[in-house]
Symmetry: none
Subunit: 414 residues, 2 copies
Amino acid sequence: MSDLMDTIRTIAKKTDSKILMVVLDGVGGLPLTVNGDTELATAQTPNLDALALESQLGQVELVGAGITPGSGPGHLSLFGYDPLRYVVGRGALSAVGIGVHLKAGDVAVRGNFASLGVGRVIADRRAGRPSDEKNAEIVARLRAAIPEIDGTPVEIYTESEHRFVVVFRSQGVDEAGQGLGANLSDVDPQVTGVPPQTAVGGDPASERTAFLVNEFVARAEAVLADEPQVNGVLFRGYSDVPHFPSFADTYGLRAACIASYPMYKGLASLVGMDVLEVEGEEDALDGKVAALAAHWTDYDFFYFHIKKTDSTGEDGDFHAKVKKVELFDALLSRLRELQPDVLCIVGDHSTPSKLASHSWHPVPLLINSRYGRKDMAARYTEEEAGKGSLGLRRGTDVMPLLMANALKLQKYGA
Amino acid sequence: MSDLMDTIRTIAKKTDSKILMVVLDGVGGLPLTVNGDTELATAQTPNLDALALESQLGQVELVGAGITPGSGPGHLSLFGYDPLRYVVGRGALSAVGIGVHLKAGDVAVRGNFASLGVGRVIADRRAGRPSDEKNAEIVARLRAAIPEIDGTPVEIYTESEHRFVVVFRSQGVDEAGQGLGANLSDVDPQVTGVPPQTAVGGDPASERTAFLVNEFVARAEAVLADEPQVNGVLFRGYSDVPHFPSFADTYGLRAACIASYPMYKGLASLVGMDVLEVEGEEDALDGKVAALAAHWTDYDFFYFHIKKTDSTGEDGDFHAKVKKVELFDALLSRLRELQPDVLCIVGDHSTPSKLASHSWHPVPLLINSRYGRKDMAARYTEEEAGKGSLGLRRGTDVMPLLMANALKLQKYGA
C-alpha cells in the first residue's frame, strides 16, 4: 500500500453503497498522425459521451512519469498498491498468468529450456526457441517423470517457446510459519559456455527449495538426455506467494472480480478479491454483465475487466480497437441500469495501436457519483480527460477517490 | 514538515515582503444538482473576480486524494507540515480547541464522565450524556477538590456533555529533556461491565503521569460518590505537546495569526505563530481587519482565518454559505489596500452544504503576486480553479509557492 493507504485502512467504514470499477485494458491510445484522433476519439460512443457529461474526468499514470506498466503493476496501482513497493515475483506472476493458484509456503519458479553440450556446458540458453508444441511435449515428458521430489509435489506448466513454470507445493507451513523459501540463487548463469549453476539457499526454508531445484535439474537432464536440442533446464526468478495486505480488509469492502482471462483473475485473487464465474469465450461480455447482475447484492465493490481494448492495440489494429471501444459503449447502459453509487472507467495502462505495445501515456479516468463537480471534459477521450477537474494523478489515487465518492471514508483528524 | 520543507529551511531568506494567507474555512463546495453551480460560483463576488483575473489559480488537496481533512490536518498542510507525518494528539487538540496553551513537558488528556455501579463496574461510559450545564457543575466540583496532585498542578476544563479535558502541568523539563510522558495505557476499557483500568506508564516520565492519572481517578470518584449518574471518570488519548519544527524558524518569518475561534488560534500557536488579539464576536470581520492593519508593519506573514464559510456549509445551508462568501468579497478591498506582496486565498478543506460536512474535494487556490503568469481561470470558483495554471497540488505546496512569490527563497544548488 502507499502511505496514503495505511491511512485509508484506519478511516474506511462499511456502508451499503456500491462501487463499480471498469478497467478497459490498455484503453489509452495515440493518433496515427500528428494532431489526429486517438482510437477513443475516433469511436462513436453515445453512451460514454452522455456519461462523461455528468461525470468528472482526469488522467492517471499507473506507475510514474514515463513508465510503461505491465498488467500486474498497472492493476496493483488501480487497486491502491504502490507498484514500486508491491512486486509480484516473476515466478508467481507466471503461475498466476496461467491460472495456477499459489498457497502460502509454495514456491513458483520460471524455467527456460536450454541446450547443453559436452560437460553440461550451455550452448543455447533458449534451446533454439522450440515451438509451443515442442514445449508442451517436453513438459508432458517431465510431468510424467517428476510428479514429486522427496515427498514434495511438483507441478510443471507450459508457457511458450522455451518458457515453463514449476510450482513446488509445500506440504504445509511449519510451526515457524515456514513452508518453502524463495531466497535462493539462480541455476541460470545468464551466459553460455559454462554449466548450469547449483542453487544455494539463503536460509533453512530456501535450502530445502534449493535441494528440490537441483534435484529437478538433474532428473530433467536424465529424462531429456535423448533430446538433441531441448536437453537441459535453467531456473531464474523464484517467488513465494506475495504477502500483500488484503484489499477487502484494507478498504472494508466485499470485493469481487469479474474477468475472463487467468492473469486478471489471478491478480484479483492475490489481493484477496472473490473471483466470480463468467460464462462465455474470450471477453465474454454478456457473461460478465450476467455475473455482475447476479451478484449485485452480494458485494460492495466490483472490478470489471475488459480485455480486447488491449489485445487489438497490441495487434496494432487501430480500427479493431475503435470497434472494441464501441462494443463496450453498447454495453454501458446495462451497467448503468444497476445504478452503482460510484461508477469508474479507467485503464491499467495505454496500448496505442500505433506502438502495438503497452505505453507510458496516462489513461483517461472517469468517476461518476452524485458528489461530483461540473468539469470541462465532454467525452471519455485522452484529450477531454486532460480538461477534467480530477487532474493528472497516480493510479494509487483512484481507490481513495472511489471510496470517498461512495462516502466510505471517515474524516482524517479532528 | 514535508521533505520539501527540509529544503525550504535551508534556502529561506528574510526580506521586507509581506505574505497574507487568507483561509476561508471549508470554502470548497458542490452543486446541488448535476452540472449546477457551487456556492462559490453562485455568489456575486465582483472583488474576488477582479482579483482572480490578475492572479494564478489552482486546486489543492490538503491530505491526499479522497481524504476528508479535519481542521487540524487541513491547516497543518497549509502551513507546510505533512499531515500524515505531523499529528496533533487528541488530548492536545482538545486542549487547543478550548484555548488552553500547552508547554513542553505538560500532558493533556481527554476524559469522559462515566456511571459506575457496585464494585466500580462501568454501567455507562458516557454517564447518560449529561447536559453541558451538569458537565460544568461537575468540573467545578473537581476543580475545587483537585487543584494539584503531589505537587503537580492539575487543570480541568469542560468540553460538552460527558467530555472534559485535564492538563497535568509539568514542573519543568528535567536534565534529560523530560517532563511528563504521554506513553501510558488507557483508563477507559471501551466496554461496560468491568471497572476502569489502572493506567500503566511505558517509560519513567510516563510512569509519573500514570501515577497522577490513577490518583485523579480515585480522588474524582471520592468527590463524586454522592452523584447518582456522573460518578466516575475514564481517560483515553494522552498527548504531550507536539514536537513540531517552528513555523517562524523554518521559513524565517515573523508570523502572526488573526483568528477568532480557539481551535485555529491554538493550531497557529502550536506551530509557533504569534496570536493577535481580535475584537468582536464570532467571525469579527472588522476586528480582524483592524488587527491586520494595526500589526501590518510588525510581521512578514499573516494567517487570516474566516470561519463562517465552513459553519454554514456544516449547517447544510447553501444560501447562507453563498452570503458568507459575498461578505468576504466585500471585505477584500480592505485587505488589498494594505498591498501585500503576496495575497493567497485558500481553504483548509471543502465543506459542501450538500454534504453538510467536511469533504475530500480539492479547494480552490489563488495566489496574487507581481510574479504570476496569465492563466485561464477567470473567477475564484472550483470550476475555474480547475483551469488555473497552478494545477492540482498538495496543501504542503502552498507555503513554498507563497515564499517564492515573495522572493523569500534562494536558489537551490549552484
